[in-house]
Each structure stands twice: as C-alpha cells, then as structure tokens.
C-alpha cells in the first residue's frame, strides 16, 4: 500500500510539516453516514425495547429496565420501527461499501488487527492505562487501535446478524438457532449495542485526547504532522 504524503511549507514562516492522506473519501463517507445511522439505530432500538423492556418469555412479564423515553427515538413503537427499518439499510449499505472498499483497495492493512500486532498490544496498553512509556509509532494505527477498529467491525456484523434473527426468526431460523434461540438472539442484539456504545465512548475520548489534527483527518483525509512519519 502506497500512502500519499505531502511536505507543506508555511507560506509565511517557511516552516515545514508533513501530511499523510490517511482516509480515502469512501472511508470518510462511510464513517460519517454510518455514525448517523448507528445513532438512529441505537435511539430507535431503545424505543422498541421500551415496548417490552425485558428478556425471555413473556411470563412472568417483569420490566427489567425502565428505560427513559427521553433517551429514545421515534416517539412510539410504530415510529421507532419505521426509523429502525429505514436506517438499517443505510447502516448495512455503508458497512458493506466500507468492507468491499477495504478488501479491494488493500486499505484494510491499515486497520485489520493481525497476529503480527499481538506483541505490540501490551506495551500500548501499559502506556494508555498504566502510564508506561509510549511505544514508537510506526504506522497510522497502533496495535490497540487496530484491535478496537477490527472489533467494532465484527460487532457491526454481529449487530446485523442478531437483528435479522430477531426480525425474521422463521426465515432465518438457522441464525436464531446459532444464537441459542429467539430469546437469546434478542439479548445478544441488546448486549452488542452496549458493546458498540462502549467503543463509541472510548473512540470519542481518544479523539479528544489525540487532538484536532487527528479529528480533521476524518474530514479531509489528510493528517498533518503524523507522529509515525520521520521528521
């Protein structure tokens, strides 16, 4: 994979910085459209959950969680289903487009967590969580980042698979069976949502910590002054 790079010379001071084209347009488009779709899927999903805020059989029906209406989207069950069953296609569409692009462009090498990344996990975790020394950056994503991004792709696929098992437990009876039945499929669908929200939370924290240049790169594609490029 050859990455485009530029050397930028400041028009006034003559100071020189490097910039690397990290995120191709398709990746950026998929990222932002999918982010909106995920937001709608979670909001409407929670409203759907409010109709039967429990798991397992109807009997005895005990509300497990009284989820507040203000943290849900769609207003009522029918409205929420409209949002959910509209945005699911945007969610799946951007997901598939992203995956197809990553595979065919070879861009996946930047993101996919591979066995070679395993040795780098511990030093990075020690740096993030235990104030250890910062391991030198050699590529766009460190091993923990790759692990997080690869995991969330897997979660995305699972969110769709569990969703289909709940939506079409008869036509996709094999999916429901693989998940341990209709009741468990519904529980997995719910838990996967929380796992994805945990990713989103961590992702947003890291975006804030890593600063403006990092955020801008997902808008323009270009990352100024990347730490892994030798000065």
């Amino acid at each position: 994979m050859s990455t485009q790079a530029l050397t930028i010379e400041d028009a006034k001071t003559g100071e020189v910085t490097e910039a690397v084209y990290e995120h191709p347009l398709i990746v950026r488009l998929c990222h932002w459209v999918n982010a909106v779709a995920l937001f709608v899927m979670v909001g409407s999903g929670l409203q759907i959950f409010r109709a039967f805020p429990s798991f397992g059989a109807k009997i005895p029906q005990k509300d497990l969680i009284n989820w507040p209406k203000s943290f849900a989207l769609g207003g009522w069950l029918g409205g929420a289903l409209q949002w959910h069953l509209t945005f699911v296609w945007i969610y799946i569409g951007t997901g598939l487009l992203y995956l197809a692009y990553q595979v065919f462009s070879g861009h996946y090498k930047q993101v996919l967590f591979m066995p070679k990344d395993v040795p780098g996990v511990w030093p990075m975790a020690r740096h993030y969580f235990l104030f250890g020394p910062k391991p030198p950056a050699r590529e766009a994503y460190n091993p923990l980042q790759k692990h997080a991004y690869t995991s969330v792709i897997v979660l995305g696929v699972l969110s769709v698979a569990t969703g289909f098992a709940v939506w079409k437990p008869i036509q996709f009876s094999w999916l429901a069976w693989m998940m341990g039945g209709f009741h468990l499929a519904r529980l997995w669908h719910f838990l996967i949502m929380w796992a994805m929200l945990a990713f989103v939370f961590g992702h947003l924290v890291m975006v804030v910590l890593h600063g403006w240049n990092n955020f801008v790169s997902m808008l323009t594609g270009w990352k100024k002054d990347p730490e892994y490029v030798a000065k």
Binding site: A11, F52, K58, G78, G79, L81, Q82, I90, Q171, S173
Partner: protein, 239 residues
Amino acid sequence: MDSRINSRKFKSISRRELLKLTPVVALGAFAIPKLQEPLLKAGLGFSDWFSAKLFRSGHLATTFADSELTPPDKFPINGYDVADPQVDFDRWNLTVAGGVQKPGNYTLAQVQALPKITQNTRHVCVEGWDVIGRFGGARLSDFLKMIGADLTARFVYVECADDYYESLDMATALHPQTLLCYEMYDAPLTREHGAPLRLQMPTKVGYKQAKYLTDLRVTNVLEKVGYWEDQGYSEFYGL
C-alpha cells in the same frame, strides 16, 4: 509519492476534500418534518418489499413439543378495544366476497368440515415478547380452495366483529401453517381469544392474527391494510 507544496495550496486541497463529504448532509432530510414521514414510509416500504422476497412458501415455522407450551391461562389476551364483542354464536357466519367463485355466508361447521390441523407454534408480538400456543383449525388455503378463490389475487382481507380489520398477502394466506383457527389448547376458542373464528399463523407478527372474524374478501386492491398498519406499522411483518 512525496511532494512539496505551500500551506495555502494545502488549505485548498483540504477544503476540496471536506466539500466532497457534502452527500452526508442529505441525511438531514430526515430532520425536515415535511420529508420525514414520506422518507420513513419509503424505508418501511422497502423493508416490507424485502420481507416479501425473503418469505419462502415451503419453509415451515418451528413447531414445539407439548411440554414447551405456554400454559393456556398464561397466554396473553390482546385486544385493541373490547375483550368480547358479544358475538352471537347461533347466528354467526363468515361472509365471503371478492374474487371468489362461491361468495356468500359460510358456517363454522363448513370450516370445521375441512381437514383439521393442530400445531404448537410460536406467537410473536411486535413488542418483542412471545408465547408458544397450541392452535387448531382449518388451513386457510383449504378454505380458499373451497370458496373458489382466485389464488392469483394479491390479498386476503378480513373484518372482525370488533371493527378490527387485517390483510394478508396471498403467499402467506396459502402457507400450510396459516389457519382459520377455532381451537386453542384442544378446546373451542374462548371469547377473549376471538371466538368463534380467528386467523392464526406463525409466519406473521401478532397483530396479523385477527380475532372474531366476520368477513373475508379476496382482492387485488386494499383500501385499508389493517388496524395497526394504517397507523404506521409494517404492512407485511413476516417473521
């Protein structure tokens, strides 16, 4: 590729790349009140179209052992207004109309004369809960053949004693597990469960299982789809 440019040029490259993201703004259409309803209707319509494509006529819903049944007294009773619309069983019959060769009034005895099917199947509510019930009745497909229905018509539409109404696509109506149900748990249907005759099919969500049937019409055109569908729920909702 590494090339040297000045910061002004870089700014214009960045701006151009940012502008390429403008398609994302199109999602904002969902926030415009006038567009929101038609967009969501189109989205749900697409889901329904796709659901109909996924439906396989020969694919049977799972059936369950008697030991897995929800006890009859625990089977939820869902009505949209009254639990008992006071159907007079002695004078009851099913009025058949539309695309059929033999329209008219059919008695319960005529429905019960058809081969009887008993099945333990899952009943799934749109809310997300489910129960496993034991249902007995005649195949709707057998009844449609008896009345000489046009099986190429698109829909079977029913009306109920409590003003509820529903419709089924013909593929689902002809599915072997779709019943004109007159028994639950080997006993005649009780009033709160829709006596004397209701729809029962495991391949559709709960609100399609209309109770207290009074009218049945075979048609290509639906003026109304169903009580809940006309308020915004999925028109197909196959499981």
